[in-house]
Each structure stands twice: as structure tokens, then as C-alpha cells.
Symmetry: C2
Subunit: 355 residues, 2 copies
């Protein structure tokens, strides 16, 4: 006999990317930023490590909301902070979807959306992306109270342009989340939609572009009414005092962010071109990773394993549409060189074996 | 038209205790510990403020689980970490209660339980405590898949002995959470029950006795099967790298904890006796606060306001069973003296006014 709800009993749970123990790994599997956070963030964090930790944090993280409103040109009332943007996605599924209600999103995308639907006992409605990852028109017609669009999308790295996203939002009866976890690496974003559409929530995270995956901080931008409702669902003190201090310093340091992002974009261009030279098919990327299909005769899973054996971690997804591809994080210049050199060796060895 | 679920639309949301702006307040309203966290915690946190924050934290916070298992005499597999114990309570309501299912708990108690039931669309079943706050026998007969017992209880400060809690667990068909947020201040606890009963979850927090409310860290102790199921419901990276580092150092420093707790207990004895001398009725307290009823002719709400006007914050609950009482946190010796002196003044002034 189980004490758990049957939905929970039946589900698997989300599998986070593999975190290796020990050193010497080239870790290109979880889209972490290869560069450190801004020195100003580390300084603010050191300052916040104090006796004041005995006190509860501000329940709405107002220090961050004010700084972010200033930087992004919005009102603090239109911002809600989360313990990572996963926390905000979770709140939204809870706030908008009854048990049994549909949650719609394109496929393939961030696999957490399915997990969140399962936990809620909601029904995940996957609308397949076409091969070129343009917006599938059927997404506007599901009738779901909540639609989630990861944009730029993971794990494809592709992006739907803001005009099309706006059109999607107009055609929906329910709420649209634009999960912009990777937006800072992209050539455009949908930030503006939260100001002009009452059913759009734009979500951002500090994990990728701000190099703060360890700090757990995300934020949502939406109309005051949506923020007010979502706030009812959040844990009373969902972000801790250190995360608030670090995230506030991070969003204020836009120069550091731009430098960091520019470096990643330059490496991305180089990595993608070099992979293509090696015969990989690469989707265009607006993120800090590239989805790449190995050249014949290499199977993605076997190549993942060969790289793993040489202590290079990339991400392989054993599921439809993805099982011929590898998702490779844009690491530092040095890490990407190590990856490319190892791939060259593996390919050369295979050709020698053939001959 | 609302985009929200009707349950969410209808609910109010949890109201955290008032956090004043500016200095000069004697803050005895949110059960924060008046003493700083262990110096070892602050040292560990400073060390953890590093470039490594660019990486995701361990998803299960294994460093903490191993340290806590060692200190508490259990297995790491029997521990689950949460972003505060509120996060763990939330997971449990989601994991065990379908929409419409009952969640049972005595009343009055921690008001978050009602909020969590509302968010889940579950049905809060309140079983009233008798006047002396002994365990109400009806609690065993609700048929709820989840029963929550705050023990020691907030806001009464009273405790049910472990033998009675064990008997309750035996008589339940569902799961029993023993929310031990204040257990370190008490003369006994139910830690042992997680080892011998497969339906008991004991929850602890670092917010009160470890002086780390700002860090957001709690943990649950239960059978491996319950921990495994709850873990499916948790956010992938629910506790951040700094919280893990701080909490691990905190649980290892049991000497500091004992000193801190002893000081609070001594002040509690003094404060309670002094309040009684002033004519207050005080419930026995196994926590870091005292529930006290002001003497005639003082109404609790008016006295709360008088104290507030003099920048002393205590907690007043405008609800049945509580509206004649004030919940007063055991602050530092100095803060408690300030409270007692102010109360003496107010009482003396009223008597002069009478004369």
C-alpha cells in the first residue's frame, strides 16, 4: 500500500543533468556559465553573510524588485521573485491548472514542464515542433488555461520571434508563459509583452547568463493582477537573504553581464562552425548551447559515451526527436577546444579503424 | 474574468509576520532567534561565496544529509532537505492529498497549513484543541491521508508527549507530519518515530534554534520510501549552494546550538515568571515564545497596539481562541527587559488613569 497520490506514485520525477564527482571533467551538460559571477555579486554576498541571517528575509524580495524594475524599465509590482525560475513555473502550474486541466507546450522542450504537470495532476498536452522548430500553429488551439513556450527553446537552442509570440498570446484564452531562461544570449526577447498583454508572464533566471546557478534565483514579469495571484501560491519566504543580495547586485551589473554574454556568443559561433566542419548538423542557437547531430556513422548515444569515458560531459536525451542529437553547452574557450580536439581524435580513430 | 483557478481566486494567501522598516524596534513577533548564527556557519558561508556559484548545487544537498545523519543517528537516505520547512510541508500536501481530500490538524496552530490546503484545493479539517492543548482524540478519526501536528505547537507553545504522538500515528491510516520547528527548545521530541513508524515524517528547521531564518533551510526525517516519494515532488534544485554550506556547518556545531538554546530557555523562564507577576496568564512553553493573556482590563489587541506605538512588536492573531492572547518571542535578555519595563509602564499608567 502506498501513502502517495496515484499521480505521484506513477511518475518518475525530474532527472537533473549529471553532476560528476571529482575534478578533471569538462562539463558541457547542464548549460552552466563557464565564467564566474560578477565580482560585485561576490562582494555583496560576502557583506550579506552576517548576523542578520538570524532574521527572515523580505517575503517579496523588494530590494531585487526595485533594482530589476529600474534596469528593465518596469514597475516593482510587475515582478515576482522565485527560488530559481523552476519555482515560478511550479507556482504558475498550481495557480492556473486544476487537476485534469491541460497544460500545453511544444515538444521537444524543457522536460520539467511534464514533471510539473504530473505533480499537479494536470494533463500535459505536447504540440510537436516542426523539424525547423518554428512555432506550431496548433499551439494556439488547445484551450489550455496555461501554455508554456520556452523561448529561446531548450534543448533546440532555436527561437521564435517576439511578433509571433505576441500573436500566439492574442490567440490564447489562457495564460502564456514565455520561459526566457536563455534570453540574454539571444538576439531578441519578449520582455515588452508583459507590459502590453494581460495574459503573458515572462520568466527569467540568474542561473545561466549571470553565472549564478548555485544561488537559485529567477523572476517573473507580468501584469500586477497576475503577480498578485501568483504571490498567493508562493512560499512565504521563497528566496533567502543571500540570494536576494546576490541577485540584486547581479542585475545592477549589466556591463558585466554584457561582457560575459558576448564572450559566450563568440565561442558559440566558433564552436558551431567547428562542429559543422567536423560534419555535425547544428541547429541555429540563440542560447549558451548548441544542439548538434553527429555525422555518419556516429550514433549520438555512443558518442556521448565515448566523450564521457574521456571525462567530457555533454547531454544526451534518450527520447523521440532528440535521440540522434547531443546538446553541448558553450563552455570556456579552453573547454570548447578540449571538446573539439577530442571529437577530432574520435573521428580520426574511427576512420583509421575503417581503413 | 480571472485566469486563476477558483480556489486560488478565493483564497487570501498567507500573511507573514510584520517586518518593520528602520531601526530601534524590539522585534518579538516572528520567533526569530535573538542571537547570531554560529561563527562556524558564517565562516563556512564566506568560504562558499566563490566562483563555484556558477554551478548548480547538489540536487539532494548530500553534504547536509551526511552531516545530519551522523549528528542525529539516522541514514542520509532518510533525510530530505527543503527551502525552509515550509517547502517540505508544501511538498507533503502535494504528495499525499488529491484535490478535495482532507488535510487534518488541530486548531489553533500554524496558519500556513490552511494556506497549503487551499493552494492544493484540499480540504482543511481543523480539530479543536481543548483549552489545555492536549491532543484532541478526534484527530485520529478524520480518515485524512495527511495529518499535521505542530509539536511543540505554535502559537500555543505547548507540547504533546512523544508517546501520545506515537499512539496517534498508530491509529492513523494516513501519514502524520510532526512539525518540530521548535523541538530544540523543548524537553522531548519525536525524532525517534521516523525510525520505527513508516507513516511518520518529522520536520525540522534551521530558522529558529540555529538562528538562520534568513538562510531558508529545513529538513524532513522519514522512512526511505516516504523520502523517495517526496523527492519526486520537490524542485530539482530546491536548496541553494550557500544554504547547503551554512546548514551543514550549523548542524555540525551542536555545542553552539546547545548554548544558544540554553540561553533562550533561561530567558523564557524569567520572561514567563515576570509576565505572570504582572498578571498575565501564560501557557507553559516548550518553544522560543510564550502565549500570554493580558490581565483585566487590557484587551490583547489594544495592548499589541500600545506596544507597537512604543516600537515593541509582538504577535496578535485576530481569530477565535487567540484574540485574547499575545504571542511573545523570547528575545535577548535586553529585549525582554525592554518589553517588561514597557508593560509595567503601561499597566501603571492605566492604574493611575483609573485612580
Amino acid at each position: 500500500m502506498s501513502y502517495f497520490r496515484s499521480d505521484i506514485e506513477a511518475m518518475e520525477g525530474y532527472t537533473p543533468g549529471y553532476q560528476p564527482k571529482g575534478s578533471g571533467w569538462v562539463k558541457l551538460n547542464t548549460n552552466e556559465n563557464p565564467y564566474p559571477p560578477s565580482p560585485r555579486v561576490l562582494k555583496a554576498l560576502r557583506k550579506a553573510v552576517s548576523e542578520d541571517l538570524r532574521k527572515y528575509p523580505g517575503p517579496m524580495a523588494d530590494a531585487f524588485r526595485e533594482a530589476a524594475a529600474d534596469v528593465l524599465g518596469t514597475s516593482p509590482d510587475c515582478i515576482l521573485c522565485g527560488n530559481g525560475s523552476d519555482d515560478l513555473l511550479n507556482m504558475a502550474v498550481r495557480a492556473f491548472c486544476e487537476q485534469g486541466a491541460p497544460v500545453a507546450f511544444p515538444y521537444p522542450t524543457y522536460s520539467l514542464y511534464v514533471t510539473l504537470a504530473q505533480i499537479q495532476g494536470a494533463r500535459a498536452v505536447r504540440v510537436e515542433f516542426p523539424q525547423d522548430y518554428r512555432l506550431p500553429p496548433e499551439l494556439a488551439g488547445t484551450g489550455a488555461p496555461l501554455t508554456i513556450l520556452c523561448n529561446p527553446n531548450a534543448p533546440s537552442g532555436t527561437m521564435v520571434c517576439p511578433e509571433e509570440v505576441a500573436r500566439l498570446a492574442e490567440n490564447l484564452d489562457g495564460v502564456l508563459i514565455v520561459d526566457e531562461a536563455y534570453a540574454e544570449f539571444a538576439s531578441a526577447n519578449c520582455l515588452d509583452l508583459h507590459r502590453r498583454m494581460d495574459n503573458v508572464i515572462v520568466m527569467r533566471t540568474m542561473s545561466k547568463s549571470y553565472s549564478l546557478a548555485g544561488l537559485r534565483f529567477g523572476y517573473a514579469l507580468a501584469s500586477r493582477a497576475l503577480i498578485r495571484g501568483l504571490a498567493k501560491v508562493k512560499d512565504s519566504y521563497n528566496v533567502d537573504a543571500l540570494a536576494i543580495a546576490g541577485a540584486t547586485a547581479a542585475i545592477r551589473d549589466q556591463l558585466y553581464l554584457q561582457d560575459n554574454v558576448e564572450r559566450i556568443r563568440a565561442t558559440r559561433r566558433h564552436m558551431r562552425a567547428a562542429l559543422q566542419d567536423l560534419g555535425f548538423e547544428c541547429l541555429p542557437s540563440e542560447t549558451n548551447f548548441v544542439l548538434a547531430r553527429p555525422p555518419e556513422p556516429f550514433a549520438a548515444e555512443a558518442l556521448f559515451q565515448e566523450l564521457f569515458n574521456r571525462r567530457i560531459l555533454v547531454r544526451y536525451f534518450d527520447e523521440p526527436r532528440l535521440d540522434e542529437w547531443l546538446r553541448i553547452t558553450v563552455g570556456s574557450e579552453k573547454e570548447v577546444e578540449a571538446l573539439l580536439n577530442t571529437l577530432k581524435e574520435i573521428i580520426a580513430a574511427a576512420r583509421t579503424g575503417d581503413a
